[in-house]
Subunit: 158 residues, 2 copies
Amino acid sequence: MNEGVEWALHTCVNLCWIPGQSVTAARLAAFYDLPTAYLNKQLQALARAGILMSTTGPRGGFQLARPPEKITLLDVVVAIDGPEDAFRCQEILRSGPGGQARTNYRKTCLISHSMRQAEMTWRKELSSQSIADIVQSVEHSFPKTPEDTRHWFDTIRT
Amino acid sequence: MNEGVEWALHTCVNLCWIPGQSVTAARLAAFYDLPTAYLNKQLQALARAGILMSTTGPRGGFQLARPPEKITLLDVVVAIDGPEDAFRCQEILRSGPGGQARTNYRKTCLISHSMRQAEMTWRKELSSQSIADIVQSVEHSFPKTPEDTRHWFDTIRT
């Protein structure tokens, strides 16, 4: 999985603590000492997926495009890493004895089916948790984090 | 995920239908028209993981090293694709404001925790199914497959 998934998840969580502000890719990157250009690529992907909203101009930057309750972990993973399953059935049964050119082995192959089923449990788990859930857990376990994050973005300029 | 996972799973299933025989990598590869050298790499990985047993000599080759009931889909995935999670926490919190050099953020980070939890549901699902389960489902849905597979390996020489 693309390491940008980690960056994107953390960035979405941080943006919850500075609501209403548009934050540049450079400042979001500086927060974790990440390369701006590469983080910017992930932020653009999140914007294309409707998770972030990007504004231009002197006060431009990124902010959440919808409430964090409506952004699941799966939304972020798919936006950055693409919608494909980890196991990509290449339908090798087609090349086996008796293989049929027109059969869709992704549907009929029982190995493909089992791998797909496991992938669905992973997706279901990721879609059962929202960015708001993460924010709430962090605030519960690390109550100073929201204020520290706000303070950092209020005072640091890059 | 490495495409070899698909090859390895199908190969383990096929070996169930030709018990007691050692089959060369060349013949196992020919079954699906796969490149022998590359399949051989996967077969060696399965042997290192104790899933296959490799014998040398004129009648040498590969066979299952343990009963198919004792080989889970997860065993095969891990043997071929490695034990790492898809999401690899790089502990970016360490580089954030207030980050501590000695903290293990893989343990404390709640994003890392949620991603790990999803991965665990996937692993749990994969480990709940064995090669024997797949064999049984195939035999139920495609009753001719075991005999066809045996016949192919009995008659084809490569």
